[in-house]
Symmetry: C2
Subunit: 304 residues, 2 copies
């Protein structure tokens, strides 16, 4: 299968600690890299990850709180020093330009590449990026400021050719793409060979949703129904449920409810409050509701 | 002796690496903390250092390049989340307000403390801070943008009382401060006891200069003549002397020349280009000219 990997650079909440950075991830789809959020220290974490910087296509910011954005200007500046020339597109809610354009103009004036800021409306689901293999769209969330998650959905891949059958029926190379796309084959004597005999099924389509920061939002489930993997914020344990509500964050149990109700395959919890010495209780609370849950960790790589 | 410590949080040049951050230091004078520059990741390094955040009095920025300032907004924001209430003064060259005030207004709007930005003229030596124990002033430097170093000069401390002599001559407690200040004592029968018999000498006055980023600037020597410790940038080795000149940086040998000509006691080299796998050649080049040289390292503490 083609590569579809989540690289967690940071999964802490507002306060970075020596143990973990605030939010940042890289989604690696067939060696194209997409960044989700960019907390302070992201450029160092990115370097430690040994992911190839230059393959970064775009950056998607969920919202303009510091723990999701403070690493942006340093990383952009470093890319310039390292000689990046490819355009870089950055997506985020209202105020993205007002806040970051002056910094970019001042600190990246000599950069040899273009940085293009795109302000998006996070309240409606919309597609921001599309290529042959993936479609990236927004997922409205509910936080104290305009905020959206992001959904990565692989495009269906062609069925796999059975080389032996192609040879057997002497199917010309010009027809291979049609066969991959599902067409049957008619031999010279008029016999129809059904596509199922000529191919094996295509790889399953994978999908990933990144949902942080948000209060418990049941409406989210229909947008992410049946996806392969959900990263959902779990800032608080059950004992701080009221605080979660007040600050527009989620508990681990609420993240698990979303995963269960959306019938996703796997759940990753992240955005942990720095108040917890261990996140084991958060995991336990979530697994009671949705067993296939794991805790994010800085430096973790998840292969879908 | 009272505490006078340099804590090096970061001593790299423009590109932070997994091995070292860009520029940032804490000068700890009798548990009052003063920050010099604030590169990305400074708040994490500060936390690792276990220095008490809340004792930070002021931040002095040498110039407005990203590798000296990108950690500022994240750290200021974190101080707010941690409940700091004491005013924090930040000094730096022209554009400090234009660039940082909008970020502070946006990201620290709810902070419970005041952040006061002071734009300074880095071209003339001037005193910015003074209390009972220390005086902090600027040191004009020559870089591609307006830039100054900072000089910390301890104030002379009183002489030490000899308790045995005070008791012997029955000197009343009301006179102790005068004696410490150097006054002689006249006994009831008119005998003058010279101060030298009543006290031992005060501690030597210590001083520290932080000089980065700058091209070789011989004029600097008169301002830092005879100081206890000089931190001087040494971005390049001798083989890159032309590059140093072109980018307004110094070689290790030039830093050593400044130290020798200023007759300082110790030299610390820092702001190393990330191109060098080892800084041993820089140290060797400097020590040929000024033997009492050492290489800065992230996490290093130097006691004066």
């Amino acid at each position: 299968m083609e590569k579809f990997e989540i690289n967690i650079l940071g999964c802490g909440a507002a306060l970075p600690t020596p143990r973990r950075l605030s939010s940042s991830q890289i989604v690696n789809i067939r060696e194209k890299l997409f960044m989700l959020d960019c907390a302070e220290g992201t450029q160092m974490a990115l370097r430690r990850s040994r992911l190839p910087f230059s393959h970064l296509q775009a950056i998607f910011l969920t919202h303009l709180h510091g723990d999701h954005t403070f690493g942006l200007i340093g990383m952009l500046s470093t890319f310039g020093l390292l000689g990046r020339i490819q355009d870089l597109h950055i997506y985020g809610p209202k105020d993205l330009q007002r806040i970051f354009q002056p910094q970019i103009d001042y600190f990246c004036a000599d950069s040899p590449y273009h940085i293009i800021l795109h302000e998006i409306d996070p309240t409606i689901p919309q597609t921001l990026y599309e290529d042959r293999s993936v479609c990236i769209s927004t997922l409205p969330l509910s936080h104290r400021v305009p905020c959206c998650g992001y959904l990565f959905r692989e495009k269906p891949t062609p069925r796999h050719i059975r080389r032996d059958m192609i040879d057997f029926y002497h199917i010309p190379i010009s027809q291979i793409n049609n066969i991959k796309a599902g067409m049957d084959w008619t031999t010279e004597d008029g016999t129809i060979i059904p596509n199922e005999r000529l191919t094996t099924p295509s790889d399953p389509v994978r999908s990933y949703a990144y949902c942080t920061d948000t209060t418990y939002r049941p409406r989210l489930t229909e947008l992410i129904h049946g996806i392969t993997c959900l990263y959902h914020e779990a800032t608080f344990a059950q004992e701080h449920a009221l605080l979660a509500q007040k600050t527009f964050h989620s508990t681990a149990a609420q993240a698990a409810q979303i995963a269960r109700d959306a019938q996703v395959q796997r759940l990753i919890l992240g955005h942990f409050s720095s108040r917890y010495k261990s996140e084991a209780p958060l995991l336990a609370e979530a697994q009671q509701i949705f067993p296939d849950t794991l805790l994010a960790e800085d430096g973790m790589k998840i292969t879908l």
